[in-house]
Point group: C2
């Protein structure tokens, strides 16, 4: 049972909200470099969406396509070149990278001022701490909060349950919810009886990498 | 009601455990600099405990006592001197500092390798992220986990509730509990009905800066 009587489960139309945001963006960002290595179908699809979104809002996209067998040194040299290019305000390196490349090493070479994914530990630390502000917010967590806000759902004081604790989505979204004054619980693969915890939630963020893991039986309030 | 029937509230003897740990420490740490500015009674009492604990375990303590009206520049110059001193492995600057000094600025001047309080955002970020390890753990949160561990209380899968979310105790202890695979909920001043959440907990860490805030009525399992 949810603790508040004004709750019902609602499906948020993320696509419509994303389109609204793109329409709102002016020419804030002069240039975004999107780096892809190799030919993974999923990565190509993500990258092509990012480039298309850039085009739609008049952000200049710098498309860096490198072959699957590019050396780590050559990839890092490219990152350094983008760090130095003043037309490039943000750098996204699409993950995963091929096995012969150390992802952590490559990501740590991105200048923190251009690390628009916000995954640098210094950035995550500032996101986590009261009274500090990160330079960038990781995009999916920020998107979750934006969806709630634009759907008129208040967060303060609500019981929010985050399912999953990845560095990329689950964990940073729990930080953002806590900063927004939710009572936050993080549920994960070691949690006992996660269903009962999820049933108590006012807001559920399912970020466990598996669609439909949280079913309507858990979110519909009787 | 707690979710597991094998739970009862127990009082942990922190003083006895601290003594055991001091007895265990050999001469691991060559030198700890403890810096105090001014004459605050509470700060002097904390610092004197730290220096006494150093003496007990043969850690060389570098005692830096500066007057209340020391300038920020002089304090920072002292921090730089300690950074450069190879006999000093750790630096503690006792907080709070006098109002004319910017704490964040002074703390950020401590070399990250000697920031034994572990409050640098880079350190907190590494503590927060999966697959990264911080250089140092903040002492009170680490102490809480040590108390649990030395009292034979397992954490994995347990419902842990942290009351309070300060940068110094509540928040980092929630990170440590999550890393130890607890299902962690952070309760704070904006939480609705915190009592009911606390009653469900297997482990409660009360870090709200007020003794006896969590009473026996909330932790005794019927």
């Amino acid at each position: 049972m949810a603790s508040q009587s004004d709750h019902k489960a609602a499906i948020i139309d993320g696509k419509a909200i994303a389109q609204t945001i793109r329409n709102e963006i002016a020419e804030e960002v002069p240039g975004l470099a999107v780096v892809i290595v190799g030919n993974r179908k999923d990565s190509q699809s993500y990258v092509s969406m990012k480039r298309k979104a850039c085009a739609e809002v008049a952000i200049k996209s710098f498309d860096i396509d490198l072959p699957e067998d590019v050396s780590q040194d050559d990839l890092i040299a490219k990152v350094h070149e983008l760090n130095a290019n003043t037309d490039v305000r943000g750098i996204l390196v699409q993950l995963p990278l091929p096995k012969h490349i150390n992802e952590e090493k490559v990501l740590s070479e991105i200048s923190i001022e251009k690390d628009v994914d916000g995954f640098h530990p210094l950035n995550i630390g500032k996101l986590a701490m009261k009274g500090r502000e990160p330079l960038f917010l990781p995009c999916t967590p920020k998107g979750c909060l934006e969806l709630l806000s634009r759907s008129g759902i208040s967060i303060e004081g609500k019981k929010a349950v985050v399912v999953g604790r990845s560095n990329i989505v689950g964990f940073p979204v729990s930080l953002l919810l806590l900063k927004a004054d939710a009572t936050v619980t993080v549920v994960h693969s070691h949690s006992h009886d996660p269903e009962s915890i999820i049933r108590e939630a006012d807001i559920i963020i399912a970020a466990a990498g598996q669609a439909m893991m949280v079913g309507s039986s858990q979110i519909v309030v009787p």
